[in-house]
Amino acid sequence: MSFPLLTATAALPALGAVATAAVPAARRTAAKWLALLVSLATLVLAALVAVRFEPGGDRYQLTESHAWIKDFGVRYELGVDGIGVALIALTALLIPFIVLAGWHDADPQETGSKRWRPTQGFFALILAVEAMVILSFEATDVFLFYIFFEAMLIPMYFLIGGFGDRAHEHGEETASTQRSYAAVKFLLYNLAGGLIMLAAVIGLYVVAGSFSLQEIAEARANGSLQMAATTERWLFLGFFFAFAVKAPLWPLHTWLPNAMGEATAPVAVLITAVVDKVGTFAMLRFCLGLFPEASKWATPVILVLALVSIVYGALLAVGQRDIKRLVAYASISHFGFIVMGIFAMTSQGQSGATLYMVNHGISTAALMLVAGFLISRRGSRLIADYGGVQKVAPVLAGTFLIGGLATLSLPGLAPFVSEFLVLVGTFARYPVIGIIATVGIVLAALYTLVLYQRTMTGPVRPEVSRMPDLRARELAVVAPLIALLILLGVFPKPLTDIVNPAVEHTMSDVQQKDPQPEVEAAK
């Protein structure tokens, strides 16, 4: 029995969370450093996972399997395929930056009672989320996955409802009410999805008699398991609904703008860049993996929904007055692209979708964190309160611009690769949808540039006239992300090498072949 690397990768942040929470109230800084170190160590472990993973090897690697609840055949079963590796790496990579960016977000306003220890809680919760996300990327047992998929909500709820922006244009009272509204909305939406999924999980067990992905796949392969079409469709819908809420797909998206708008920037990044990825990841692994026929059956509707999300999200982003809500709607548009790539059922589309998850995570993190720094300086989220920042804080403006350009997926930056792959993959099978989706490209440029123009350019407003430029800590957060964006933009091969085999497996799950070009040009 080799060293349980996957368990360790998830256990480290979990223990770190406990340790951080246990730090006494007075030693706030110690808690911060502890959290940072733990997240970095987790990053090292994740890197180890990526190294130990052979792209050419069998589908699930580094597997661990122990009996857990014998009566229901629930097993503690971990394993990663290329997609899992990529997303685990993304999570472990982003958390240190989130911690670093949120360094002062949870300092208590009044250093009053000893019992009240927000800082420790903040970082402990972040680490807890990391642990659960990583586990849900690793779990190959449906039930195990479901548990973490749901448990994730608890720390997220407290992170959203408990910690908001320092200064708020409407004053602390309304801010806290809006926060709690957003948190409850987030919780209810995801719980509703989760409950429906639970029903589907139980149904799956009744039908398949097992929770293990491999076993079900084998049973399918050797024909010992045949699902009736209707059963499969109902189960598929049960799963898909939960993931569509998490993703979020139109029209189940309205919780995201509230959550991202009210939460602090690092938490917003945690939501959209890390937690929501579980939804799209699960679509790829569970919806397609467990219910290939039903997936094919539902593809047209889902593609249309994705298309609506793309255009609709982009249009609403154009109409926003609040920086964070704008980014949120942009994310909705991007998630539309991801879902479209997944259900285009072409290897380009699915590789593109997987890369998109990673790239969107990094680019949104870059944009949102810089926006957070900006907001923390001026104490307002309204675009109209800014102007001419570029003159007083050029570095901040520059990084903001690069984040924005990544969001509009400029070639040379990472998101372009994935977005183009998704478009090509979709176009190859559904040309009309692919063409309509390109509208999203123009709209993305529109909302990004409008945001940049309104906030950064123009005459300097007196409120921002003595705004400080990025500090060393903040630069340490942004610079690596931008470097990564450029690197993955010009040389994404390492990522694609890991992802492609997994995508081939998925394609074979759904028994789909890429459409062949009509003219075989001389290669």
Partner: protein, 648 residues
Amino acid sequence: MENLIALLIAAPLLGAAVLLCGGRRLDAVGHWIGTVLAAASFAVGVVLFTDMLGRSAEERTLTRHLYSWIPVEGFRADVAFHLDQLSMTFVLLISGVGTLIHVYSIGYMEHDERRRRFFGYLNLFLAAMLLLVLADNYLLLYVGWEGVGLASYLLIGFWQHKPSAATAAKKAFLVNRVGDVGLSIAIMLMFTTFGTFAFGPVLAAAGDTGEGKLTAIALMLLLAACGKSAQVPLQSWLGDAMEGPTPVSALIHAATMVTAGVYLIVRSGAIFNAAPDAQLVVTVVGAVTLLFGAVVGCAKDDIKKALAGSTMSQIGYMVLAAGLGPIGYVFAIMHLVTHGFFKAGLFLGAGSVMHGMNDEVDMRRYGGLRKYMPVTFVTFGLGYLAIIGFPGLSGFFSKDKIIEAAFAKGGAEGWILGGAALLGAAITAYYMTRVMLMTFFGEERWRDAPTPSPAESDVEPAAETRGEYTPPHPHESPSSMTIPMIVLAFGSVFAGAFFGIGDRFLHWLEPVTGHAHGHPPVSALTVTLSTVVVLIVGVAIAWAQYGRRPVPAVAPRGSLLTRAARRDLLQDDFNHVVLVRGGEHLTRSLVYVDHTLVDGVVNGTAASVGGLSGRLRKLQNGYARSYAVSMFGGAAVLVAATLLMRAV
């Protein structure tokens, strides 16, 4: 040799990286770094050029495969370069003119505290443009394509504190983006049709597929070209792009950005050749833009905008030629190169004038400047003669060839296109003469204070200088600015003759683009003569209007056409009303819908659940006995259930 190709791009890219990340400590030397690296790129280009000349026409093509960029299941995008005569021409033009403009900017931007950044952007621009022309597949070209868009965005909006500049930059990027959609769809179509989008295989296999698909691809490519090359209907950004510093205008208009579209069409010649319908559309677009730009150029009082209009129309010539197919490709490129010289010269001249007139751009406030800035006058004059196609100068050779080719298209189309081209030549002569006269001749209108002019959106920059008026002191620009102008003037005088006589350029480019000799219905001599005639006519009219009579310092109201032309023939108004207003309303209403409808449904369910639970709460009245009743009733129900079970 192949490895040098990467160096072409790497040099300016490195410059951009260093200058943009370097921070303030580089402010002192920033401009030198930028210029030197641009020059280095040019030097490498020259080396490659000489090496290329050393080889026979067949194996002049160099390809360099760096690494595999996006490998996914049959979708293979590589970072690979392809250097043949066509790209070589562009490399030399871009890096050469680019370097000159760098040198010019050293003087022009001297007093700007963000000069380092400016040079960083310039280098980025060069790098992107070189990548565009050196890429060996459409996707990599797309990278350069958008990179150029980004650099232009940064440069046009360089003076970001001016809202007008920021808006212009945004507009340029967005309009380009629309074109880019065309390019990306074209690439997708290529991938689904040919399974690849590398130049070699696609162009080789172009003939094997149905004409319908090819037409679609070609039209999408044309859309892209329209966006980048400011062709109708995507030309509206070009005029506003003048908000950028003058060297930027020179760079964008003369040498690099706007020529990208022409490059794309010529490069994809094989596809267009196989899709005649698309070619026809291309020629029509070219002809329309040619006249459009010319008309706009006639009405503008802002010197840079007048030049912008002329650029538009000159690019129209090129696109027209490119649309003519094999008979036109070579001449399109040839006109592109000569235009690169004289238009760069003209813009730098304009910049030098503004430099001497403390950034006044309204030509009605110029006049009689020839004795104050002689060098500028001479170089500008030579550029002027070149662009109107004065016999013997470079513009003459290239433009004349295009007009010939247009007639040679044959049939009614040939006559129409040729006529349009001739008319365009006449108008060109008219408005360029106008610019020349208003700027360098006539009495000195800048001595007395400006009188507020009736609502003219174009003369804003002038109208800003209110308060007591101190007349500018026109002076010649520093040598760092004049030298490039002189060099370009040489180019604009001799390039055409050098290329045209003995069809040197034709033989140089033929192996790539292919060439077919067109046979115009009338003899080439007739075409040439008529060209000269219309040229003289145009100059004469202009002289009659602006040379003999004094030019009013305030623009007269003018005819309906004039006013429309001043407003870019109402293109912007159309965009504003239809796209901007409509878009705003759409987004507003969608925001409302999202908040009330989509969100309202959810909140409604939540509220109803709350109400229901509120009613159920009443059952919990806190009396132990009523709870006991429910227990007892439950027990009764259980008994009944068991009995029923046993009964069944």
